[in-house]
C-alpha cells in the first residue's frame, strides 16, 4: 500500500509544471481567448514598427530636413477600448525603443501638449530655463509627427468555443499640415474553449 501511495505521489508530482522562466511572447507562452495576451501585443507592435518603417515617411523627412523627425508618442495616446486591463507601455515601449534606438526618429520627452504632462519633467524644466535665459525658443522640441491609436475587441461564442478578435490601430499625424500621413491596423484572432500553453 505504501509503495502504491509513493508511486502515486511521484506520478502526480511529475505531472505538475513547476514555475520556470520562458521567452517573453515565445512559443511557451499561455494563449487565452478571454483577454489580450503578451504575444498579441508583441505581434501588434512588431507589425506597426514594420509598417511605419516600410512607409518611409521618417526616412523621407530625414533626407529633406537633414535630421530625424521629432516624434510625440505618449503612452496615453493609445486608447484601450477592450475588457483587458493592459499597461500601455507593453505596446508603446517596443515601438519607441525600435524607432529611437535605430535613429529613425527622435522622441519628444519634454513636450507638454494639452495634457500639460511631460514624460521627463526634469528635462522639461531645464529646457524652459534655457529658453528663458537665451530669450529664444531654442530647445523647444516641437514634434514633427505624433502617433495615436486605439485597441478594440470583438468577442463571439459557438457552444463551448470562444473567439476573441482584437484590432490594434495606429495613426501618424504630420504636424506641418495636421493630416494623417500613415495609418494601419493589425488584427489578431484567437479561438478555443480553454487557455493553453503554446502559440
Amino acid at each position: 500500500m505504501r509503495i502504491l501511495l509513493a508511486a502515486l505521489s511521484i506520478t502526480l508530482l511529475a505531472a505538475c509544471t513547476p514555475a520556470h522562466r520562458i521567452d517573453t511572447g515565445g512559443p511557451e507562452s499561455i494563449t487565452t481567448t478571454s483577454q489580450i495576451d503578451i504575444q498579441d501585443v508583441q505581434d501588434a507592435s512588431a507589425s506597426m514598427i514594420e509598417s511605419l518603417l516600410r512607409s518611409g515617411h521618417f526616412q523621407q523627412f530625414a533626407a529633406t530636413h537633414g535630421r530625424p523627425p521629432i516624434l510625440l508618442f505618449k503612452d496615453g495616446a493609445i486608447v484601450n477600448d477592450t475588457t483587458t486591463r493592459l499597461s500601455m507601455p507593453l505596446l508603446t515601449g517596443d515601438i519607441k525603443a525600435e524607432l529611437v534606438n535605430s535613429g529613425v526618429v527622435q522622441l519628444a520627452t519634454t513636450y507638454a501638449g494639452v495634457s500639460g504632462r511631460v514624460q521627463d519633467q526634469d528635462a522639461a524644466a531645464h529646457a524652459r530655463r534655457q529658453a528663458l535665459r537665451s530669450q529664444s525658443p531654442e530647445g523647444d522640441a516641437t514634434p514633427d509627427f505624433s502617433l495615436t491609436g486605439t485597441i478594440v475587441e470583438h468577442s463571439s461564442r459557438a457552444g463551448n468555443t470562444h473567439q476573441l478578435d482584437v484590432q490594434f490601430q495606429m495613426t501618424l499625424t504630420n504636424w506641418s499640415n495636421s493630416l494623417a500621413q500613415w495609418t494601419d491596423t493589425k488584427k489578431v484572432s484567437k479561438q478555443g474553449d480553454k487557455p493553453a500553453v503554446g502559440l
Binding site: G25, G26, P27, T31, Q39, Q42, D43, S45, A46, I49, E50, L53, R54, S55, G56, Q59, Q60, D94, I95, A97, E98, S102, G192, A196, V197, G198, L199
Partner: protein, 142 residues
C-alpha cells in the same frame, strides 16, 4: 444499373465528409518562379516545412520602396486535408552574419487552410540587413 447499398452509403458519406474538410482550391497565374526568387533558400525552407506537412512555393527578397529596407516573402502552401497552424520567426543578419537585434524579432502564429497558401512577409529592421534565418514551429494546440 444497380447500386449496392454499401456503395451508396460510402458515396453519401464522402459527400457529407468532404465539404466538412473546408479545403480551399487555389490557382495561380504564375507558371515560372519570380525573377528574384532565391532557389537555395526555397529548398532549405521546404525541408523545414515538410516536417509539418506544408511546402514552400517560393522565397523572395527585395528592397521595399520607399524605405529601401530588405523585405522577405515566403509563400507557404498546404496540400493536406486540414488547416494547419504554425509559429514562425524570421531573424535578420548583417553582412558578417551577426544577428541584428530588433523588437520585430517575435514569434507569429499563422494558419493556412487546406489546399490554400499564405504569404509570410517580414521587413528588415535596418539597412545593414543582408540575409535572414527562418524558424518554424508546429502549433501544439492545433
Amino acid at each position: 444499373m444497380t447500386i449496392r447499398p454499401a456503395t451508396l452509403l460510402l458515396t453519401l458519406s464522402m459527400a457529407v465528409l468532404l465539404p466538412a474538410c473546408g479545403s480551399v482550391n487555389t490557382t495561380s497565374t504564375r507558371r515560372a518562379p519570380a525573377a528574384d526568387e532565391i532557389t537555395d533558400t526555397k529548398l532549405q525552407v521546404n525541408d523545414l516545412l515538410t516536417e509539418i506537412f506544408l511546402h514552400c512555393r517560393g522565397v523572395r527578397m527585395y528592397r521595399s520602396q520607399p524605405s529601401g529596407l530588405l523585405e522577405a516573402q515566403i509563400v507557404v502552401a498546404n496540400d493536406g486535408f486540414s488547416a494547419r497552424t504554425f509559429g514562425w520567426n524570421l531573424r535578420w543578419l548583417d553582412q558578417a552574419g551577426n544577428l541584428i537585434a530588433s523588437k520585430t524579432d517575435v514569434w507569429r502564429a499563422t494558419s493556412v487552410p487546406a489546399g490554400g497558401t499564405v504569404t509570410l512577409t517580414d521587413l528588415a529592421p535596418t539597412l545593414a540587413a543582408t540575409d535572414f534565418t527562418f524558424e518554424l514551429r508546429r502549433s501544439d494546440n492545433r
